[in-house]
């Protein structure tokens, strides 16, 4: 039985990964790379900023960057994703 949706934590990872791959990224880029509609992405971006995983550029609040905490989250996600995939499961 395969789940037809992504888990919240995987969506966080996809967003952070999209921003990391660009260095800094705007909403339209993240929408495309993380495959999310605007309204849902806005909600997740607020959550990620509130959790300190994502930061807004000081001079341009529409530009996002991944914080040190966010980088650690991405690294942990990749490590534990490999672990769970060894069991044939997914996060």
């Amino acid at each position: 039985m395969r789940r037809a949706y992504r888990s919240r934590v995987r969506i966080y990872y996809d967003i952070l990964n999209a921003v990391m791959s660009e260095g800094h990224a705007r909403i339209t880029t993240i929408m495309r790379d993380a495959n999310l509609p605007y309204d849902r992405l806005q909600r997740y971006l607020e959550e990620l900023v509130a959790k300190g995983l994502l930061g807004r550029h000081q001079n341009d609040p529409t530009l996002f960057h991944v914080t040190d905490k966010g980088v650690r989250f991405v690294e942990e996600f990749q490590r534990f994703d490999r672990l769970v995939r060894a069991f044939g499961l997914e996060i």
Binding site: M1, E76, F80, L83, A86, F87, G88, I91
Partner: protein
């Protein structure tokens, strides 16, 4: 003769304590993953291995205390009448752990190729010993099929070790079930159970190392 037999029986307590330590390590690794990422699949695996390990620890300590007087003769006499209940609780907790593994595979199985046949969950029945061993085999058969399918797809060393670990865990329950044929199979079952956990531990460490 009985003295020799009892000195041999201690081996199962030792093997079970080692298995507990491995289960605890695997469980804590998954707990750490759950606390860092908040994903339920890690919580299920952590709880599954934690329950397995907890059941092993309690059983090893109580059997050790009651049969071999690990903690004094008074406690041994007090615990002896409750050995049957301990075995019942042990079986129930182990089955609960396997049900959690099955649930994790039902809910969080990685995507398969569309042509591949889906593994159908087995009917869930909770039956007490000696059916516990056979019930464990039925539940683990699902986990074995899913993890072996994953190994075939990924062909990685980590997933291979995990799949072999679940195969060995299933084999250990078959050996426990065949104990009436030859008592040595009981110890073989414990040895294979320990091997299974070592394989799962190796697979987990291999996968995390990348």
């Amino acid at each position: 003769m009985i003295g020799i037999l009892f000195s041999v029986i201690r081996i199962d307590v030792v093997l079970e304590l080692i298995s507990f330590a491995i289960c605890a390590f695997i469980s804590l690794s998954f707990l750490r993953a759950h606390l860092n990422l908040g994903s339920r699949v890690f919580a299920m695996l952590s709880a599954g291995f934690g329950l397995m390990g907890g059941a092993m620890l309690v059983r090893a300590l109580i059997v050790g205390a009651s049969l071999f007087g690990f903690f004094g003769r008074d406690l041994s006499r007090t615990l002896m009448p409750y050995l049957f209940q301990v075995e019942l609780l042990y079986s129930f907790v182990r089955l609960t752990a396997y049900l959690l593994f099955v649930l994790a595979y039902v809910l969080y199985q990685a995507p398969r190729a569309p042509t591949e046949l889906a593994v159908v969950p087995p009917p869930v029945l909770l039956i007490y010993n000696p059916a516990f061993e056979l019930m464990s085999v039925v539940l683990l058969a699902y986990v074995v099929a899913a993890s072996t399918g994953n190994w075939k797809r990924t062909n990685s060393k980590g997933s291979g070790s995990v799949a072999l670990g679940f195969w060995a865990l299933l084999a250990s329950h078959l050996l426990f079930a065949l104990t009436p044929l030859n008592f040595i199979l009981y110890f073989a079952g414990h040895a294979v159970q320990l091997l299974s956990l070592l394989l799962i531990l190796f697979g987990a460490l291999e996968a995390m190392r990348g």
